[in-house]
Every structure is written in structure tokens, then in C-alpha cells.
Amino acid sequence: METSRKLIRKQSLEKLYNQLSATRKVYAPVIADDKQVEFKYNPGFAEVTFEHIRSTLSVKNIAFPKVENLFLYSNGKTESTITDIDLNKIPEVVLWGSHPCDNAAFDALRSIFEWDIKDEFFSKRMEKLVVIGLSCHLSDAYCFCTSVGLAPNSSKGSDILLSPLHNGDYQADILTEKGASIVNSFSELFESTSGEEVVLTTVKQKFDHEKVTSKLNGAFEHPFWVENSLRCIGCGACAYVCPTCACFDIQDETRGKNGKRYRSWDSCGFSMFTLHTSGHNPRNVQSARWRQRIMHKFSYMPDRNQSLGCVGCGRCSSGCPVDMNIAEQLEALQNI
């Protein structure tokens, strides 16, 4: 569809939010008691922040929840009965105020979950999702969207992208049918744009991701991995805060005669992630696991999924307890 551009006044934005919030689930960022930025369902407009750089966790859980029940079962004397999850019960959700990097991440996730067979849970959740993104007028040293082909106002993954203007109003880019249908439902709140300049932050490019991808080809045995992963303690923080990490574990949980099979987030950084029953572990040291993380995002995914596995949000680095700074490492990698 053809994209269009409108203007929405500050007061109208509040009305839009309130009206959306009154009729459906709206997932919007707030600043919590402990000063961390988190997304919540239907907070009051006054609570919603427009001034955040990044939320502690990404918003991938909207399409790929940290726990997803796959089916329920009940064990009888001789047979078990399985109850499927009713996907139609998945509600429509408006994701509000997520930044371009997080929104672009949905494309990266899609490249995995819809790579060959469509993951029906992911696809259904995506189908029910409308993304009203927000361009960035703030950034910090961890941001590197410009190094992975994105920008503070990339429209990828958004249905509507809001960009702040100097006077507090917002430019609204209507990017998809879903976006258009929202705008049409609330057309009185949108005005035509006068072409004012949007306020955007500048994010310095730190590396050339294509160069990284080509260097990685053949760098599997490079001493770089051991030297640069010594301080990695092997937790799963980077994977769990990452908007594109898609690894999951599948478990059965039985209590009495009833049980469920679910999937939950996992991390390739854990030492047990690749442990075989035999005791053999193909990635038996942390350097191998760190290499996997970078290889997967910058070599295997571009190769197999035609998508980069990184959107430059910087969460893995800002959330890392030992400052494993991915942008710094990628910058170094392009020169090995």
C-alpha cells in the first residue's frame, strides 16, 4: 500500500491513546518505581513515557512470550487426551511507543518463526498486533542502529510511526493497512502535515555490518573469540533482553493427571544449552557460546534467513553485568 504522512497534535495523541485504550489492549512504556522503563498494558496516558531511550526488556514478548503454552493434556487410565490452545482467544494488541529498532526486530523474528513452517502461535500474535512506533529523539552510547542498516526513524515493522516535532506535536507516517485502518477510525484526530522537521537523535555508525558478515566467514577458529569472551560469565541476560533472540526450550509440566506442554525462552549462552545426553557438549566452553551468539546474528541469519539478527538496540550491552559490549566487538571484528 502507499504510505502517507499526517500530523497529530499533542492533545489529539492523548485522545487517540485513550480511545484505543478504552477498546483494546494497549501495551505502552512507563517508568517504573525503580526507574526502569517497562511496557505495561493500558497504563494511564499520563504514565506513558515518550522520553525513554530503551526499555529494560524488549517488546518481543508480545509476539514471542517468555512462556507459551502449546497444548494441555490429561492422562486417563490408558489414554491421554490433548486439548489444543484456542488461538482465536489471542486478543488484538496495540503496541504503543516502541522504538524503530524494536519494531524492526519483529521482521527478524518473523524470518525465524516463519522461515519454513509458520509458527502458528507467533503468526497469530503478529496478525493481532498493531504497532504504533515512536522515532528516537534520544540515544546513548549503547545505541548502534545505524551500524545495522537502521536509523532513529526507520519505519520497518511499524504500522504507524510517530516522530516528534519541536512544538510537541507528532508527525505520523501511516505505513500499512493496519495503520491506515486505525487512522481511518480516528480520522478526526489526524491533520495534514505542514512538512515540519522532526526531532531526531544522531546515532554514530560504529561498524559496517556487511563487512562484519564477510569477515565472519572463515573466522570460526580465530583466537578473537577466546580473547574477547574471557569476562563473559555465561548468563542469559543478553538473550533475554534481546528483541531478536528466538531460542526456546520445550517442557512438559504434569501435576496429578493434568499437564501442559509449553515453550519458554532459552539462551545459547547457557553451558547446558547444547549438552548431549552422552555428556558430550559441542559448545563446551564460553568462547564457543559467545562465538555462536555473534555468528548466528551476523553470519548464519543473513545467510539463511536473509535478515540480520541484530537491530542495534544496545540492550545486550547495557544489560550485561560484565560489559560485553557487542558493538565494540563487532567494530573490532571487521578489522581482524
Binding site: 489492549k25 514478548n61 508480545i62 512470550p65 517468555k66 512462556v67 507459551e68 503454552n69 489471542i90 486478543p91 494488541v93 500474535r125 501435576r255 509449553y262
Partner: protein
């Protein structure tokens, strides 16, 4: 609340309290049927995680009981258990888990009457306290967390 009957799981050692409870039986002393006993070789064997699992699976109260100090069949298992329970109790208190729902006792193989008393006192107290709603809510809430659309 008057007809509420608490579910109580008792974790007991084989040599003292289990035998003491046997003696309660042979002496035909009656006590509340709410309690169900799990036999362990020694209180030293009782993993604190099992107590949490009992609550998570719907127990309203727990009894942990073994040999009196110095009477351990294995000489020192109950002393180790004692230290473990001291730490566990302090941690639970700090986290706001209601320790009035757990009775810790020493019941010897000769104390059949004491066993009945421990059970009855615990059950009476739990009847007054009511079902352990806050813990059950925690578990149920966790189930809701899973199914909610994130």
C-alpha cells in the same frame, strides 16, 4: 471457614517420629485425619525444597518431625536438619512466607501421645488460619501469567 479442613503433609524420620506415629496407632489414640505422612530415613534427608513443593501443590500446613537431639539413629542427622531449618525459617520469615503454617517437632518412638498432640494442635491452628490463600494465589497467578497474552 468453620468447615474448612486443612491439608497437612508430615515429613518424618523413620526411626523416631514414624515409629512414634506407629505407636499412636497401636495405642489407638485418635487424631485429625488431615495429616498424611511421608517417611524419610532421617530428618537430615528432608530437602527444604520438598516443603516448598508441598505448599505449591496445595498443602495448607506442614509438619516436620524427627528424633530428639542426641537420639538420632544416625547420631547427627537431626542436628544438621536443625541448622537447615533455622536458616530456612529465617529466610521464609524474611520473604513473608507464614511460618505458623509449619510445625517443627521432635517426636520419639515412645511419644505416640505427643504425635497425636502435635497433629491435633497443628490442625486446630490451621483451621483457624484458613486455607493458605496467599501462597496458592501466588501459584495460580503464575499460571495466569503464562496464559495471558503478553
Amino acid at each position: 471457614m468453620s468447615d474448612f479442613e486443612p491439608k497437612v503433609v508430615a515429613f518424618v524420620c523413620n526411626w523416631c517420629t514414624y515409629a512414634g506415629a506407629d505407636l499412636t496407632g497401636t495405642s489407638r489414640i485418635k487424631y485429625a485425619s488431615n495429616v498424611k505422612i511421608i517417611r524419610f530415613p532421617c530428618t537430615g534427608r528432608i530437602d527444604f525444597m520438598l516443603l516448598l513443593k508441598a505448599f505449591a501443590n496445595g498443602a495448607d500446613g506442614i509438619i516436620v518431625s524427627g528424633c530428639h537431639p542426641n537420639d538420632c539413629h544416625y547420631t547427627s542427622g537431626n542436628f544438621h536438619a536443625k541448622r537447615r531449618w533455622i536458616m530456612f525459617k529465617e529466610l521464609m520469615d524474611f520473604m513473608g512466607v507464614d511460618m505458623n503454617r509449619i510445625t517443627f517437632s521432635w517426636v520419639s518412638a515412645a511419644e505416640g501421645a505427643k504425635w497425636a498432640d502435635v497433629v491435633n494442635t497443628t490442625v486446630t491452628r490451621l483451621r483457624e488460619m484458613g486455607p493458605y490463600v496467599s501462597y496458592r494465589d501466588l501459584v495460580n497467578k503464575s499460571v495466569e501469567e503464562e496464559v495471558k497474552n503478553e
